[in-house]
């Protein structure tokens, strides 16, 4: 039901978007290049200033560039510092319930405390 396969509706949406984007681009070119006097003589007097035909793409490109740096910075800020307990445990691990140990069954999945993990990794088995 949710497959990405092509459907007739999707073909129509795609073609509508294609026509719409071409129309938008042609409108943008006309707004940017056709002199104001010609537009006034056609009766189109309330279009935005042509300044924005250059300003908006410039703003957009700078915003995309800043967005890369911003995302990088937000990632660095959200990383837990080395002295926080978030590097060791979290609310789900603290509230987990201990399941009863059953003979000859695979032990239930649980968050193993870091002391136990360390002992297993770094102290030699006797």
């Amino acid at each position: 039901e949710n497959s990405p396969a092509p459907l007739p509706e999707r073909a129509i949406y795609g073609f509508a978007l294609f026509l719409g984007s071409w129309f938008g681009f042609m409108l943008y070119l006309i707004w940017a290049y056709v002199p104001e006097t010609w537009l006034f003589s056609l009766g189109l007097t309330y279009w935005p200033q042509k300044y924005w035909a250059v300003a908006l793409p410039a703003y957009l490109l700078v915003a995309i560039g800043i967005g890369y740096i911003l995302l990088f910075g937000i990632n660095m800020m959200s990383t837990a510092p080395l002295n926080s307990t978030d590097t060791i445990t979290d609310n789900y691990a603290k509230k987990q319930q201990q399941k009863k140990f059953q003979e000859e069954a695979i032990p239930a999945l649980r968050d193993i405390p870091i002391s136990e993990v360390n002992r297993m990794f770094f102290l030699p088995e006797k």
Partner: protein
């Protein structure tokens, strides 16, 4: 008895781990960082002075040159006193507590003591630090309300950042002493 072994830091610098056993329940582990190199000091000084001379040639103002000299002098003093760490050491006394000392290049020493009742465990933890995943040794402090909980994490060897092999040595030494806590319970 004191033994010293060479190791590497996370960034590749040469470190030395000094292990000293004072008694059966008291051990001192010190990680020594490389000293300030003359070549990096000269490089930094020359870079600052060349930049200042360039500014002087552009602005014809000799204050730039004196300012550069003062900046270099004060910068070096502040760096040696607050930033450059010579040695980080860990003194584990079984029945008493753990003392963490950082010695700066200017001779300043900053010490923290954590008593043994507050220490839950000393573990090697992995965490993300500056686009890398590093191993670091840390002391887990006991949460007074919850016997299983950890109230605080105290990272150790933050400036020298030794690699895993050095950390495993320090971890084993600490665990030998911490294990004595359970086998020899206090009479208080």
């Amino acid at each position: 008895a004191m033994e010293e072994r060479p190791y590497r830091s996370a960034s590749g610098a040469a470190l030395a781990l000094r292990r000293r056993q004072h008694s059966a329940s008291c051990r001192e582990l010190a990680v020594c960082c490389p000293r300030l190199q003359l070549r990096s000091l000269s490089a930094a000084t020359s870079a600052v002075w060349l930049a200042a001379y360039g500014l002087f040639v552009l602005s014809e103002n000799s204050v730039v040159l004196s300012a550069a000299i003062f900046i270099t002098l004060f910068g070096l003093i502040i760096y040696l006193h607050f930033v450059k760490i010579d040695q980080e050491s860990l003194l584990v006394i079984g029945s008493l507590g753990i003392q963490v000392t950082s010695s700066y290049a200017s001779g300043k020493e900053s010490t923290t003591f954590i008593e043994m009742s507050r220490v839950k465990d000393v573990v090697i933890n992995e965490a993300i630090h500056m686009q890398k995943v590093i191993y670091y040794l840390c002391i887990l402090l006991q949460d007074p309300g919850d016997p299983q909980g950890v109230s605080e994490v105290v990272p150790l060897f933050q400036s020298s950042k030794p690699r895993l092999d050095c950390l495993i040595e320090v971890y084993k030494s600490c665990q030998e002493i911490l294990a004595q806590r359970k086998t020899a319970p206090q009479s208080s």
